[in-house]
Subunit: 501 residues, 2 copies
Amino acid sequence: MTLNEALQKYDELQQKLFALNYASSSIYLDSVTVAPSNTAAGRSLALGVLSGLVYPLAYGDETGELLEFLTQHKAELSPQKAREVEESKRAYDETHLMPQEEYVEYSVLLNDAQDVWHKAKNADDFPSFAPYLAKIFDANRRQAAYIDSTKAPYDALLNQYERGLTMEQLDAFFSQLRDTIVPLIHRIQTEGAAIDDSFLYKHYPLDKQRELSDYLMEVLAIDRTHCTIGETEHPFTLNFDKNDVRITTHYHENSLASSMYSVIHESGHALYELGIGDEYQHTSLAGGVSMGIHESQSRLYENMFGRSEEFINLIYPKMLELFPEQLAGVTAHQFYLAVNKAEPSLIRTESDELTYSLHIMVRYEIEKMMLSGQATVEELPTLWAAKMKEYLGVDVPSDREGVLQDSHWSGGMIGYFPSYALGSAYAAQFVERMKQDVDVSKCLAEGDFKTLNAWLGEHIHQYGGFYPPTQLFENCCGAKFDANYYTEYLKNKYMKIYGLE
Amino acid sequence: MTLNEALQKYDELQQKLFALNYASSSIYLDSVTVAPSNTAAGRSLALGVLSGLVYPLAYGDETGELLEFLTQHKAELSPQKAREVEESKRAYDETHLMPQEEYVEYSVLLNDAQDVWHKAKNADDFPSFAPYLAKIFDANRRQAAYIDSTKAPYDALLNQYERGLTMEQLDAFFSQLRDTIVPLIHRIQTEGAAIDDSFLYKHYPLDKQRELSDYLMEVLAIDRTHCTIGETEHPFTLNFDKNDVRITTHYHENSLASSMYSVIHESGHALYELGIGDEYQHTSLAGGVSMGIHESQSRLYENMFGRSEEFINLIYPKMLELFPEQLAGVTAHQFYLAVNKAEPSLIRTESDELTYSLHIMVRYEIEKMMLSGQATVEELPTLWAAKMKEYLGVDVPSDREGVLQDSHWSGGMIGYFPSYALGSAYAAQFVERMKQDVDVSKCLAEGDFKTLNAWLGEHIHQYGGFYPPTQLFENCCGAKFDANYYTEYLKNKYMKIYGLE
């Protein structure tokens, strides 16, 4: 085989994987948006067969040999092609030990689990979901060994979402967060000025909330010819390619902020995908580089931008236009305070910026215990309640508002949650770096998202998977990651909001 | 290769084709419902690659040999397996002469054409669509030769949608229809009582029309856990499998009957798919057997059931509840007359039952001319206007209301239209046969669609592709197809409606 033949074969392989991934994405999107409720069986069969077509292309022996050959000729490849091969090889190395049968079974399991979780959440029926979750955790334990049997299983899984991330790093990181957040919450509860957010829970008609979503996406300068919004049980972003990105939200009739900040959060993800360089399209470098970096973008738009006072001032006239009765007598400043009210609560996606990381810690602790065999699926509801009490001081009244609230585990994403907290911390450091080049406050006040998006596009988005996450981060910030940026940001913001010294 | 090995290989092949077809259906459905407007490029790439995966499985040499081997062992196969192989072989024989490259290009062309047609229709811009349509007609001419080079090209294409159907048969059929319909329309226009249908064109809010759709599907006893309704430019039915069927409609704010009868029409298609026997799932016998039989079901529900006076009486209380102002002072009988008003018009899908076949004749004549080289794509708008004037006596004010109105040609379906007229005629004969077993009029009056659906299920739906269409028809009716049933039905119905002797 000549190098040219190998390269041609490799490019064909990438196109096939793109197409099969495109197909699965489409089937998944349909299943969580418009598919009739009783249709999982045919979908499982189709997804199983499709994953059986993916396996040999991505993880088969012939592909292994091809990637090995290209790796040996790395010096002769363009920098981009070399990185593409490196990423394909990494995916191959992490999965090829898993037998094809197991790979297919897992894809069928996840499709079924998605359906069962959805119904279980609606019916507040954890036991019906438990057997599926047990299988998912079992499969992830086995997969951890395939990925790297020398690592602790949870470390192997964390690595899938943020390369090189370990429990040791996370323990230190979360410990630092806790040392800032817990005393701060305590001071807020004892000394802070009271904040009224009751108006956020009035009746907000869904059609007006839909209008708000469109308006927010317009303000954030999202090109709607490349990005639509849909409605699902759990909000998410899905990218077919850089020119075709979908976000979803979930509207609640008696809560304004829930969907509002979901839309801004998912828009952050979408802007990342929409901004990736054309040259990486349909290759192994397409898409955001890691979940930590991805969540840094979503959390940055949601919090550093979306929960800033400048942004609230910018959008408030439109809010009053859409919800004149609900917001009668409420000033923009009061609205700003309300969407930043720090208060321990049950639902992660609706929690405030300060207590948010405590929700992540609950999931992190539980995942650690599950992977190390210290807890079983049956114990999860009890464990969840205990951890929520320990970290947030709240009582969990139902599994629906507890262990069933998120779709990550039913989707097989174990080790994903820490990315949210890490992403939030990355975001704080990104914004500090950004301020050296751009007057962020002025851009937010004027709604100049073109400038903000362009800076993030230039420093982060455009690179797709070209730079590994740590290198991308350090290229952008000119420094190593430092969680102090985040803790300082939280302290400054919340001390001010609550009138503390 | 033993017979058992061959059968196992064949079953795996069918599952793969099911999954790849499922994927393409999902991608298509997404593209015409919720996909952002500017996303055709990635979709084309994905669909092209997927069709490149389909080709060797369905039409490759190895598959040809496998099907040949199984055909030789036909006597040893179960009746169902023998028919499965026969249908797979037929598909193979019709397509394997087409080079894979051409097959893939055609699938990409259809995806692009769908997008271009959609935009061209909205902008009333035929020239932008013309080059795509020219390519589609060229491709169909070539395909006709691959299917059967001994036949006239249009006969070869007709055969794809209704086995064995020829221009000779259709010329006779349409000639008989014309001999009934044209003088009848003439009498209606000169001697018929005037029918007021102006109230059908008042303002009908979309949300109320959506409620009506749900109500109609409930009345027709469609299991919504297996069938949803969406919104598209052009209504259609799509089946993932017998447990997952989607219908779509297009709401017009100033027309009630348009979507109403689209929903009933597509429900007829859906009930056929939902009623197919489990044993044919995910095989070459899944799905309705031919387009003629499929349209017989949709047209039967739309017209023989949906436009009957019993049905209107049944649903009218709900109509009044949904549209009290629009229908104020209108009786059920007046409504019945209005939805049956015979009047030459521009849009096929909104035309009445009597003039409908004339619309089909326009398309049939044009397709014949295009396939025999007597007309070019550039001439289509002029030709369309001339034929509409000739058959229906109407002037065509725009291409949007003319040659661009239907999505069939952009979807590559050339030779499909005659199925609609043929299906309507089949339906008339089916209903006459049905009346021997079931009191159709009473069922309609009482809304007993369970009984009606069950009869059609037992005599038609359950068989899927097991019996070839002619055999299915004759098994059901105990007689050969006879267009007199249809012409008699039309004469009786319309003479009565218009008070003619």
